[in-house]
Amino acid sequence: MKSILFATAAATIAFVGSAQAGLLEDVKAKGFIQCGVNTGLTGFSAPNDKGKWEGFDVDFCRAMSAAVFGDADKVKYTPLTSKERFTALQSGEIDVLSRNTTWTFTRDVNLGLEFIGSNYYDGQGFMVRKDLGVKSARELDGASVCIQTGTTTELNLADYFRTHKMEFNSVVFEKADEIRAAYDAGRCDVYTTDRSGLAAQRSLLKAPEDHLVLPEVVSKEPLGPVVRHGQSEWGDVARWTLYTLIVAEELGITSANVDSMKSSKNPEVLRLLGIEGEMGKQLGVSADWAYNIVKQVGNYSEVYERHVGVNTPLKLERGINALWTQGGLMYAPPFR
């Protein structure tokens, strides 16, 4: 029964894919991008006081809109739960999914999706009280660990402790708020979830400076935007929008200096900003597409610092999300 259901679903997806070959043209014709985002995840996607969506994931949609329309605000948002996000994309309800989605083999290959890259490398980490004197996750044998029920977090945790022949007692909760309260009240020694989440929760503890996020990262969670299989042109726009953000940081182009960079001596900058060459035309968008992205949304670093960086309540260091030139993983292929 289940397999029949999936077969039918897959057939439908294939049909959807073939029927809408030119999604880029369709999007241009309808005049806006329908973007799937999280219903609420601190720093990544949440409505602000004026009812406008903002966050790290939201800014990716705005960057795409700047590339396609020259206006970052031509986006309509569809808030999605984790369960319906892939269907929304497969059925064509949304054009791009930018919702802290982990890139995995099954999702990329089996679900008819196409991950266009990773814009945030997350991973599961551990937080402990400083006065425990623990400096490494390897010293956590016998600890009681607060976790959220029914998540991959739970499985990763079990795997990690089993690999290192350690014991743990899990204290399981339904919601992040409950875990935080329990951890703060001392009901468990360790709080484990994705490191971006740990940072957000740490800022809400009674005394955040008394707590420490351990250096170990026990799972790989590359988060990135997703499009449908078979939408190559549209996927290219999404992929090179992401790389524009990264390469702009690498080349030192910011929203503040992008105008003066137009007279730069660096040929790659000139190609990127559409002064030379015809990259925009090849991509199917206007010549100043990258200029619009950087001007209206900023480069990767600006987006990062605006929503999740050290000056936000999340206080996340760049870490592995730094540029490859600074020891991180953010790397964009050359623009030539």
């Binding site: 039918t8 809408q20 219903t39 006081d49 808030p79 369960k83």
Partner: protein, 369 residues
Amino acid sequence: MTDNSFVRTESHPDLPPPVRHTGIIRWMRQNLFSSWFNTFLTISSLYLLYRIVPPFLEWAIFSADLSGSTYQDCTSGGACWAMVRVRFDQFMYGFFPTTERWRVDIGFLLLFATAIPLMIDGIPGKKYLAIFVFAIYPFVAFLLFHGGFGLEIVDTAQWGGLMLTLVLATVTIVVSLPLGILFALGRRSEMPIIRMICIGFIELWRGVPLITVLFMGSVMLPLFLPPGTNFDKILRTLIVMALFAAAYMAEVVRGGLQAIPKGQYEAAQAMGLSYWKTMGLIILPQALKIVIPGIVNTFIALFKDTTLVLVIGLLDFLSIIQSATTHKNWLGTSTEGYVFAAAVYWIFCFSMSRYSIRLERKLDTGHRN
């Protein structure tokens, strides 16, 4: 002979009853301290109240912050009501465009202005009011909320907050009651096919959790529709919820139908009334009166069940509050959000149950032995 004896000529005025048998003390002895077990319960309840109420009041009122634009501005240690204050409009209207919100106000004011007189006795012209509320108002409301005829179109994706909750609840309630009555009649019908269909429908929908049905409507259905058909998400939800509620309503109404003595049916038939007249004039007025508590119970459950739409990413009143508290400026205000949501839901549900009690009293025309 001098009479030294003292004979009292007037009676002594009544002494006040012993202090232990009057007023508050008597009441307390009778109600709070009548046995050692009750005394124990009283004292422990008082202790619990003492532990809960003053800290709650301290948190919610005395040391609460009302102004500020981020959580960091709430410094006094109590509740951060600033969040609710700043976001109040968003909680009410969702993402409805600010310049068009008057339409929502008018829509609901119109509903209250016409529906409340319907519930009050002795107001003339109720027939016309009822026709307006049930036949004309839905179209007016659709026009106001969605737009058209010169009004700017507001995409249903921009609906949210309390407005969305009320739309979901009202539409499901209004659609499910008549549908439910039809299914209840169908289930007791003597025509086998109709009876089978109704039983099948009722048992199918009652046998599935609402969340499953919502997932079906929002996740599976789009996969089977031809590509490009954009079947509105809120419409899908409304249909699914109305059918779900109708199945429950049908069983409540059937309970009422079964409670009517057979003599009533036979008497109606003896008078030569047709099936619909029998039902409309004799059976249903009595049956529905009996099941008012059940109907209102279903309505209240339905109103609260609307919060389940958060699993399909619709930002109703509860989930828009949850979203708001994840914004980086308001991280840490989820308790305030939930307390506010609970208060608002309680007001609505309590009003419904009060109205149902009034209705029962009004319609209580005897039959009790």
